[in-house]
């Protein structure tokens, strides 16, 4: 094997070790809970059935201005990356009002499943979500790879989704 190949390989190997070591120490990739999302329109989605796709789960509320501001961007991201295996599930918090949720979903034309977390079970399953927006990303193997509290950085999200395709 010539020197250039060796050098190149060792460089990548070192980078790989550093990145993988980082993954272990941060231990932020955790198995996503095995859940079924019952959307307000009656549609049911099992998280398990979405294996092989990148899933974004967005906890929101109609009383959260930031969430309402972000929703059109989430819809745009879903439309753009859906064909490449990107799914979005919006979970309205238990303190929200079903009528307000339905009205917003209808007016905004939200195309992905919207779940009303009436008893707060989903918020508990995802580690006590106690604010909105809180957004989780689940990778193709069903592992939760990120948790974002507050405003989403859509530039970063798009870069990640582009890298998946």
């Amino acid at each position: 094997m010539n020197i250039s190949v060796l050098c190149k390989r060792s460089r990548y190997a070192i980078l790989l070790i550093v990145l993988c070591a980082g993954l272990n120490t941060h231990a932020q990739t955790v198995a996503a809970p095995a859940l079924t999302f019952a959307a307000m329109d009656g549609q049911k989605t099992r998280l398990y059935d979405l294996r092989g796709k990148i899933v974004l789960i967005n906890f929101w509320a109609t009383s959260c201005g930031i969430c309402l501001k972000e929703m059109p961007d989430l819809i745009a991201a879903w439309r753009r990356y859906r064909s490449r295996g990107f799914e979005v599930i919006a979970v309205a918090m238990r303190y929200d009002e079903p009528e307000k949720i339905r009205e917003y979903v209808r007016r905004q034309g939200v195309p992905f499943p919207v779940v009303f977390d009436q008893d707060g079970a989903l918020a508990r399953e995802f580690g006590q979500v106690n604010g909105t927006p809180t957004t989780f990303l689940i990778d193709k193997s069903g592992r939760r790879i990120s948790r974002t509290v507050g405003v989403i950085n859509f530039k970063k999200l798009r870069a990640f989704l582009e890298a998946q395709s």
């Binding site: 980078l15 990739t29 501001k69 990303l137 990120s146 507050g150 405003v151």
Partner: protein, 163 residues
């Protein structure tokens, strides 16, 4: 051990490198995501009790004072502050006096009145002097302006002995 210098112009024909590169790209992006894909504007959010400190005290036989201290860059919605007496037993809240808040114009929620500074609410009670023990339920909700995070409504139940 002697280190060999890396010559310039590494060939793109190396199959191993081709296989590793997309994975590396994925790992780099994954690490970025793991730091959260939040905007880099604030740090970790405070716990609800740190974000909105709350205290209630008895001022007199018919008056309670509720104190709220929103942390820096946090605010409380005036219309989300609510009080109730749980085990009434002859005690009712007759009036709630709250100071004027600051007007916040939200593109999506309209005009809201919020408190960014510490404030007090005065609760005037209707009661028979025999009713001594009450449990007051306070509910309030606010947001972290920098993170763009709105907390779930916070409920506090406080046992009080009236003079």
């Amino acid at each position: 051990m002697n280190r060999l210098p890396c010559p310039p112009g590494h060939g793109r024909h190396v199959i191993g490198v081709f296989m590793v590169k997309p994975f590396l790209k994925y790992l780099v992006l994954l690490r970025l995501l793991q730091s959260g894909f939040a905007q880099a504007v604030g740090g970790e959010p405070l716990s609800p009790d740190e974000a909105f400190k709350f205290k209630i005290s008895v001022k007199g036989p018919h008056t309670l004072i509720a104190e709220f201290l929103p942390a820096k860059d946090h605010y409380i919605y005036k219309d989300k502050v609510r009080f109730a007496v749980k085990n009434q037993g002859g005690v009712l809240i007759r009036q709630i006096h709250m100071p004027a808040g600051k007007i916040k114009n939200d593109r999506f929620l309209g005009t809201m009145e919020v408190y960014k500074e510490p404030f007090q609410a005065e609760l005037v009670l209707d009661r028979s002097l025999k009713a001594k023990k009450i449990t007051l339920l306070a509910t309030y909700q606010g947001c972290n302006e920098k993170l763009g995070l709105c907390y779930s409504p916070i409920e506090k139940s406080v046992g009080l002995v009236l003079p």
